[in-house]
Symmetry: D3
Subunit: 317 residues, 6 copies
Amino acid sequence: MVDHVPLGPPDASLNPRYAGFATFARLPRLDEVSRADIAFVGVPFDSGVSFRPGARFGPSHIRESSRLLRPYNPAQDVSPFAGQQVVDAGDVIANPFNILEAVDQIEHAALALTEQGTRLITLGGDHTIALPLLRAAAQRAQQPVAVLHFDAHLDTWDTYFGAPITHGTPFRRASEEGLIDLTASTHVGTRGPLYTTEDLRDDERLGFAIISSVEIQDEGLPSAIRRMLTRLGDRPVYLSVDVDVMDPAHAPGTGTPEAGGMTSRELLSMIRALRAVNLVGADIVEVAPAYDHAQITGIAAAHVGYEILSAMTPKPE
Amino acid sequence: MVDHVPLGPPDASLNPRYAGFATFARLPRLDEVSRADIAFVGVPFDSGVSFRPGARFGPSHIRESSRLLRPYNPAQDVSPFAGQQVVDAGDVIANPFNILEAVDQIEHAALALTEQGTRLITLGGDHTIALPLLRAAAQRAQQPVAVLHFDAHLDTWDTYFGAPITHGTPFRRASEEGLIDLTASTHVGTRGPLYTTEDLRDDERLGFAIISSVEIQDEGLPSAIRRMLTRLGDRPVYLSVDVDVMDPAHAPGTGTPEAGGMTSRELLSMIRALRAVNLVGADIVEVAPAYDHAQITGIAAAHVGYEILSAMTPKPE
Amino acid sequence: MVDHVPLGPPDASLNPRYAGFATFARLPRLDEVSRADIAFVGVPFDSGVSFRPGARFGPSHIRESSRLLRPYNPAQDVSPFAGQQVVDAGDVIANPFNILEAVDQIEHAALALTEQGTRLITLGGDHTIALPLLRAAAQRAQQPVAVLHFDAHLDTWDTYFGAPITHGTPFRRASEEGLIDLTASTHVGTRGPLYTTEDLRDDERLGFAIISSVEIQDEGLPSAIRRMLTRLGDRPVYLSVDVDVMDPAHAPGTGTPEAGGMTSRELLSMIRALRAVNLVGADIVEVAPAYDHAQITGIAAAHVGYEILSAMTPKPE
Amino acid sequence: MVDHVPLGPPDASLNPRYAGFATFARLPRLDEVSRADIAFVGVPFDSGVSFRPGARFGPSHIRESSRLLRPYNPAQDVSPFAGQQVVDAGDVIANPFNILEAVDQIEHAALALTEQGTRLITLGGDHTIALPLLRAAAQRAQQPVAVLHFDAHLDTWDTYFGAPITHGTPFRRASEEGLIDLTASTHVGTRGPLYTTEDLRDDERLGFAIISSVEIQDEGLPSAIRRMLTRLGDRPVYLSVDVDVMDPAHAPGTGTPEAGGMTSRELLSMIRALRAVNLVGADIVEVAPAYDHAQITGIAAAHVGYEILSAMTPKPE
Amino acid sequence: MVDHVPLGPPDASLNPRYAGFATFARLPRLDEVSRADIAFVGVPFDSGVSFRPGARFGPSHIRESSRLLRPYNPAQDVSPFAGQQVVDAGDVIANPFNILEAVDQIEHAALALTEQGTRLITLGGDHTIALPLLRAAAQRAQQPVAVLHFDAHLDTWDTYFGAPITHGTPFRRASEEGLIDLTASTHVGTRGPLYTTEDLRDDERLGFAIISSVEIQDEGLPSAIRRMLTRLGDRPVYLSVDVDVMDPAHAPGTGTPEAGGMTSRELLSMIRALRAVNLVGADIVEVAPAYDHAQITGIAAAHVGYEILSAMTPKPE
Amino acid sequence: MVDHVPLGPPDASLNPRYAGFATFARLPRLDEVSRADIAFVGVPFDSGVSFRPGARFGPSHIRESSRLLRPYNPAQDVSPFAGQQVVDAGDVIANPFNILEAVDQIEHAALALTEQGTRLITLGGDHTIALPLLRAAAQRAQQPVAVLHFDAHLDTWDTYFGAPITHGTPFRRASEEGLIDLTASTHVGTRGPLYTTEDLRDDERLGFAIISSVEIQDEGLPSAIRRMLTRLGDRPVYLSVDVDVMDPAHAPGTGTPEAGGMTSRELLSMIRALRAVNLVGADIVEVAPAYDHAQITGIAAAHVGYEILSAMTPKPE
């Protein structure tokens, strides 16, 4: 916690929101402060995608789409920029032509940024980046972390075209590497067809429970939230939000859209419930701006980031 | 009530809906009839916006998007063009370079149009226009009116860049001017971050209760509708619908979109419930066509206008 | 049922989903197999529309939008490509300048394709095509069929501009021709204005019950599904899905959009419930790609097709 | 020529260009004046297209795209609204389900509108409408007219799917009917593949010379203009402009686009040269708004209409 | 001229162009260097527009669109980042609700930024901003400057709605204030209709010659360039580029588009010719991103900025 | 040359162009004929891009955009489908996660397809694919080939992020491997900034001459064509067309757009001039559909393919 007034966004009643270099929520850059409690950081990398590419432009798109965010969050009754220093740490450099090198670059960048206890909210990029981010998170937590994974897909597949590390495989690799708490990890919002029934058995063995998009509709949001919180318990939680967890109506700008998804309102409600949870890090991935319209995907992602930040914010005493 | 058969839209089985000059719902122009019971009127003005401009093109966009509306509304069991004369009164001229003059022009135009008892459904334009429209409505009602305000935002902020009259401030100014019934006014659908906790205290002091977007999701639509109707009672009600009350999925074409909004179906249901209410006037604002896609925002706005009209229509005896 | 391993889509872990000629779900073409149990077939015809044309490009758009579909459907616990031969039969030729000839061409093509017992899932095209498809379905079923009709509109109007066969009239004509089971047919998802109260009376007389979009919201999906299944009973059912049954947020790419529609998740849930029903044929119509964005309408239509196929798939014993 | 001051568009320094019902160039409607010298009229009809439909929305799109036109044309040194009465006559009703009936409706409407000597500039609609417009023009001229035809295509094909009257055949039918001056008619801007070499022979026999898009590039605009004017001579000329004569870069919003087209600047220059010609009527067709972007096709069409009007305007004495 | 190696953009073979906060051409920010020879600066202001607003988002859009610019310009044989310090100075704050205050803010910001001899290339914003920028430029030059003005329009009109300072009037006001060299100023690329013949007479009296878009086509680029350079001579020149000087095909993303414009290739060629000229400052205005597609307007504007910068760069000795 | 009537596209006056599975120009598939003289083949691969990805969807997009192509090409007076068998050979499988493996897959596929003397016109995909295609072409030609390269960029850079084979390096690698005739290869249409002056020296050393976009404008198309043909002589020529050689107005749907490019008309004219040249193979690359609008890039690419095919077609004796 900072012992001086943290630097926040400029006053929007004097500085137009559309003015100035785009940082997340118009926050200060990391180099403008001495230390950060929480940092947004971009990972413009999409060489792990199997269908529509373009998430390499995700970080800049989410930043441009976050200019309307304001300092007080009534839904969580918290002012997330006020009692702690929040920054935008810019973008991690990741080699677009070499997945393994990129994954290393991301892991090292994440470790460097968290050295002083800063927590990260990462803006992707495709879902491949969750693997190096989980490696760093587990190392910082000094234990496997519970993965809370919002996504239309399981992302626990094995290989594509022989490649072990792609956007469809991060959680299988992470589970195999012992980074994941096998008793607490959860997918939320999954739907759509799979390859075989095997997929579900593998997934369970790798440590995941499922709260599907249809279950949220059928059992209701309060019940789904209770199931989610019960499963997570008080473990350290790494949150990974693939924007395709939302219906394409709410998030057209993504790489592997599936009909039948969650509304943005449901997603934000579930994230707000994480106020009660020990969040050690988070990512928001698969924003592909070339397929977005009027920034609706970018704005949803920006709100997700803001609610994650708020959930990470300590309650004022 | 007219004592002859009112002039309605041309028969769509003989006149293609895509043919003819665009008026709202293909209704006659004001100059084609001797007198109107209800008039749609455009206010193409957006110089009060703080973020994305473009609502100056709202009226023509909503008109083009309303060509599919038909004469009988089964949801309210009413034929709103049948027992009364409904028209499109064209656009009010408002100076784009002088907010104060524009606000005066709008107030005078609204007073002129309502002189013979015509009720107005105004197509904006940005939310600035609600202030002069409320001035005219309160003058015609000869009392403060209950404001029913659908919006993602409170719009009771004080000033931007020193300007007292903008699209973020109409209801504060209206409350200060005594135009609003402080015991009955209500925001519906609000969400997203604010500036400070002060915003909520100010808002309550200015006369507003809140039914938020999340509450509609969590408590259910019937309960939200009951709360709304109880709050409004039998007062004269001025209805102001900012299309950003809908989720950006349903209304991308707007100036300050926020994720987590209402569906168009919820919004239309709440408006239909106003059949029981004494509606003295209404506006539909913040349609910014440059950000719309396939007219989905325009179509939603057109349906909102049609349901408001139906709710204003007297029940056949 | 095939007595050898059916030919399915190529393995997506070796063949990129974006590669290869577009067939529905990357299925084999009809000419690649000896016989098909179920065939997707396109009818690129839109000369029956009264508002926005463009559905003639629907079949190719849905095919391109279906590349992500995978072989196992966990929501119905079925692998629809595994125990039966499913194909893409290409497009029917229909004269764009002569509705009556086109309708004949479609009927004959449907009869030819179903000669060996193949069931069809037709990709439109505008809703005009439901009439010849129903003629073929009733002839194959040797009895009137129950029509289950998802749509914003009734499509039981009489004539437009004197034309008896258009996209607004197929179910009136079908009812008049005795193709429809008058005790079981149902519209689901209707909403929006009509011409007169007569429309509803006619519609009932022509054999239809209604489960409206608002009723699904208000009574809840389980109740709506129960009503639908009760109405259908064990009759042979022809399913016709106009994508405008979904809200324009979920299906902007269509010809006569109406606000206040169903979500794609609700629609898919209702179609999954048809697993219990005797589906003899189906169509998915009114996808107008020029108004689509990022294929969201196409993707929703593709998922509808996939769930219909799954519902038609016999349960493994 | 009017003997009083003609009614023109409202003063744009007091009436915002984006305000008011959309008429072409914000001109008065026909019903606002006693008589018109020149009338813009819409024909929203596109049932004759063989590829992308949507030109039925052309008239309203061109009107919305014409709001920026101002009263003085320096390129022709003329004020076309000043010395004559110019109006927007609204839209002709044409049956979308019956080409033959539609063609009759259009011919009769054109004859009715030109009864008092009014000349028409018609906003299409697809190119089918040129046939009835030529019938009316030839009847009014009491002789065959020279057709000056800007288009990527010849539009002298014979039949499609057995239909003699479509958007690919108007000039063959017109030639067969004796409406066209066989010694003076000319295509400008043609390019792209044909069916057979026969097409060119037929076309010549039907009365047309060709100035192709590549010839304009290679021989230069002045030479092409000279050839055009020499060919036309002092005959009565009917001008038909298919916007696909422009490159898709300049006119994406059209039905059968071909690469390699003219620039809008070249097209406008050629039309200005018609000041020297006896123009008896004109049309601007094949604007398909669903494929337009930022109104660039609509704006080009509006400028084409404005230059035609200016070329028709008598020189002040 | 700097006496050390200037700070340039990061090496694109190690830092992906799509990574990092968006500055113009990925240049350093002003606060990262001690002093700048040339600064790009944004003025996000569009409250002076009479038609389509949205140029307030111009600066951030041009920055995002400039990521591909590389350090060596073969067309001018110069490395503009190498021998001088070039920076991005961020955005000037301008009150969106008060044109007069905004104009003052812009003038003061321009004077402050140029205090140490820095030359500015300003990214608008609408054309209103040329007035305060010219005030600052003339004050720094200590004499009237020759205005070289690329635009479809004259922008020497008098008032709109009584407002003397709007995007249609900057050069009339500047001329009246004595900021402009009346013997050398020039419009290039004008076209389209005006209000009256008076407009041209006024314009000439205010000090401008015209090289129209059609003249460039008809006399050829070399002749037009010669005329431009002869007119400018060796005076201090302020260059103002409204992107609507390009045809809407090349620059759809602008506020008052007119057909018949220049190609981007012609525009860049003319700007390159300014290498021989004494450029004291420049602006690029009227980029309205909401109407752009695939950044084509933004990319053209970025190239214009790069060529201006190159033309300002001293030749290596 | 075939000794029977080649199979061509279906008759468009009976089979709507929008119907049927999309093959290039509605040509037969390779598996429908016994042998092909010329084959279009797709290579959906874009893992070599340094900026905007998405060209993996290029082949299907070009196919959909080629439905309007007709059998007779008047500009070259040839019917390219008539005297030889032309087919669409479908897509080559290329690993998206391993550039080296992909390059091998493409080379082997090209060799396999050309084994019987078939010439290839390849639809990319990003420019990386030119390397393996050149390897196959040189092997088939049994000598180095003259590369005729239309592109905004040189594509003779060395490495990005250490990777030797990307879309910016194919012609350096090809030159180093001895695949290129160093006395005849040529870039056409280059423009925009480079890294250093070294780039030009390297490029010349690697065997390339340059005809820049500005030179085409300044010296005129006939002179540029003469230079091109003189340089090529009678050598075997491999033609590689990056669609970004066109201005973004004509080809927005591409990965690294640069302002100031060629028109589609100029490009098609230059390709037609290759009728006199010995074309051994060709590619059309860098079509990125997510950035296209109304298929204008796809249509331009389709016409380029059609003119290449026509230029390859032997003159009838």
